[in-house]
Amino acid sequence: MAESFMVKLKNKIKNFRITRSVFAYPYILFMLLFVVIPLALILVNAFLVDGKLSFGNFIALLRDGASLSTLLLSFLVGIITTLLCLVIGYPVAYILSKRAWGGIIVLLFILPMWVNFLIRTLATRAIFEALNIDLGLGTVIFGMVYNFLPFMILPLHTTLTNIDKSYLEAAQDLGADAVTVFIKTTLPLSLPGIISGVTMVFIPTISTFAISQLLGGTYLFGDSIYNKFNNGLYGVGSVMSLIMLLLVIVSNIFISKYNKGEASKNLW
């Protein structure tokens, strides 16, 4: 066996040629080391208690009222943040998609994203403190909306600018006034943008850490995962990470189901 393997390896080395697939090897190696193996470790850790296979970590999490209420609070903050982003972002994206210079304004919205989010959040906190505003859930949500609004506007703007104007004209032609045109054509046709915007805001919001700590001293789900690992509770931390992972997978399925065709072509 070993001999034949060595022969095969020798042949491989002898016949080694630089083909296109060779350029993918570094990337594959990177993915293996930093994505696949950590994921596997999390999976193993989640089912391991004192070196034995067990569901103990899951039970521990279910009994841990504090963690569960953090999860609930995270969901709540996530939903409020997402709704606020949608309510603020949609009109902005809509108006900008109607204007030739809209693209430049959208760029201005994205510009702050090149500043590290920790610096941004610390600056926000400094402003709140200077204005004598008490830090709490409200300030946390403000920080979240401020941080994630571009992720809502971008996909919406892309979808809205790509809607063929002739659909709107056809609706007008068939007797729809401006409001009806919006409700019956623009809104349903921008659904893919809404869905990717919502997912791109909701998932990061519930998993973010630091923002909530800095702006409100409250702990959200991301923060408690961080704490669990910090305190050496790898098992429970892994279970919580798995829950996050599950949410990401579910939302991705959701996106691809609604983004038939065109919208899935662009990144947002």
Partner: protein, 493 residues
């Protein structure tokens, strides 16, 4: 056609009065006026960029005229938004809503429609209004089913529009428009995306539908054959201006100018001179004709359809001119022969006759006097009212042209340049000003092109080379060929 004349103004369903549409100051539709009678099938015909689609969009209400007024059923609708106009449109690429199925696409307009419910109410001032109601589900579903029968798509109600073929999508688009029973149906090149066979079938179906429904059709196309086949009236457009309005026979047999003749069907176009009533000179020969009322020696264009020319073999005394055959190709029902008329100019002539000719053969040609279509030239010389740039330089369309004229800067002048004195430069930067070729017409021995400068002045240019529409060219004029005279009329005004 005789019936149409009897109809009075009351049956005018659409009327455009001096309508102009400008984009950034550039006129796309320029001062057009026409009216359409109820039940008519009218085609707006012209090459791309001639303003035909813009005209349709003006009627639909998607564009607002810069100047002028539009009437439907005698009501001024210039400022009425599209959703309140009694017209429906079949769009070029159908514009079927991708998020709705066939049934919902067709029912879109019906769901928004309000009809009187038979009751009335009186407001405080005593005005009586009819109460309106929505259509019921049953009414909508019946109308949709009927219209699907008309377009031959029964059983397609629940299909996704993306799953339909081009022809089927086309039918859904038509159904979606006609189900609302509009006064006017606007069709914007609806057959453009279909293959030839499908086009022919749909042409006939559309004509049948027009007959059956009695709705007025306004149809936009660049396909002259489609226009000739389907329409009651053709409106030929070029450069935002109407060239001719008439029934297909008239537009084909009596084109209003060289452009219409060239655009619709094949034709020979020659420059000539009207010697006297019933006597015309072109291709270095005198001909008898049936036209009169021109000035003596007035320059004119002569148009001859290739099928109106007869080939005479041997030394036939009936021959009006002799020519030498260049080529002769069998086309099924005729031979397409190209010959050079004997003489110094070497005018080329296209003939459709059922006589086979051999290349190099000498033939005689006969044309009936009634088949010589004579028309006034739209312009004899390029004439521009402008100002001196400086001494010995004149401004033409924003360019500084050297000339032999010592009037001071700013003086109002009239500039005249002959068609064959305008020089075309292939490289736009080699000319003094740039221009875009709008049309190019072969006139037997040379091409007459119309080049539109960026200032929207149309230069007529005679040239030996063929230029394609939309080519960018440079315009240069030799100083000695620019005739500048002081323009006095401005002082009077």
């Amino acid at each position: 056609m005789a019936n149409n004349k009897k109809m009075n103004n009351a049956s005018k369903i659409i009327e455009l009065r001096k309508v102009t549409k400008e984009y950034d100051g550039n006129p796309v539709v320029n001062n057009i006026s026409f009216s359409i009678r109820k039940g008519e099938f009218v085609t707006l015909l012209g090459p791309s960029g001639c303003g035909k689609t813009t005209t349709l969009r003006l009627i639909a209400g998607f564009e607002k005229p810069t100047k002028g007024e539009i009437f439907i059923n005698g009501v001024n609708i210039t400022d009425i938004p599209p959703h309140e106009r009694p017209v429906n449109t079949v769009f070029q690429k159908y514009a079927l809503f991708p998020h709705l199925n066939v049934y919902k696409n067709i029912a879109f307009g019906l769901k928004l429609k309000r009809v009187p419910d038979g009751t009335t109410y009186t407001d405080k001032r005593g005005n009586v209004y009819q109460n309106l109601r929505k259509l019921t589900k049953e009414e909508i579903s019946e109308k949709v089913r009927n219209v699907l029968k008309i377009v031959d798509l029964e059983g397609f109600e629940h299909r996704d529009v993306d799953s339909l073929s081009g022809g089927q999508q086309q039918r859904v688009a038509i159904a979606r428009a006609i189900v609302n029973e509009p006064d006017v149906l606007l069709l914007d090149e609806p057959l453009g995306a279909l293959d030839l066979k499908m086009r022919k079938d749909m042409q006939i179906e559309l004509m049948n539908m027009h007959k059956k429904l009695g709705i007025t059709f306004v149809y936009v196309t660049h396909d002259q054959e489609e226009a000739l086949t389907m329409s009651d009236t053709i409106i030929v457009m070029r450069g935002g201006v109407i060239q001719q309005i008439g029934c297909p026979q008239k537009v084909y047999d009596e084109p209003a100018n060289a452009f219409v003749a060239d655009f619709i069907g094949e034709s020979n176009i020659f420059s000539g001179i009207m010697l006297d009533d019933y006597e015309v000179f072109f291709c270095e020969h005198n001909f008898k004709c049936v036209d009169k009322g021109f000035k003596k020696n007035e320059p004119i264009d002569v148009i001859i359809r290739p099928e109106d020319i007869s080939v005479l073999k041997g030394d036939n005394p009936k021959a009006m001119v002799t020519a030498q055959v260049i080529s002769s190709v069998f086309k099924g029902d005729h031979y397409q022969t190209i010959a050079i008329i004997d003489g110094e100019e070497g005018n080329e002539i296209l003939i459709h006759d059922n006589v086979e000719c051999l290349p190099g053969e000498k033939i005689g040609l006969y044309i009936k006097p009634a088949d010589l279509h004579i028309m006034r030239k739209p312009r004899l010389i390029n004439e521009i009212i402008t100002e001196m740039w400086s001494e010995n330089n004149v401004e033409i369309c924003g360019g500084k042209f050297p000339c032999h004229c010592n009037l001071p800067s700013g003086a109002k002048v009239k500039v005249q340049v002959d068609f064959d004195d305008v020089e075309i430069k292939d490289d736009e930067s080699e000319g003094i000003i740039g221009a875009t070729v709008v049309s190019s017409i072969y006139k037997g021995s040379y091409y007459q092109i119309v080049a539109r400068t960026d200032d929207y002045y149309d230069f007529f240019i005679d040239t030996d080379d063929e230029w394609l529409k939309d080519d960018r060219i440079g315009i240069y004029i030799k100083p000695e060929n620019i005739r500048v005279t002081e323009y006095a009329e401005a002082d009077n005004g």
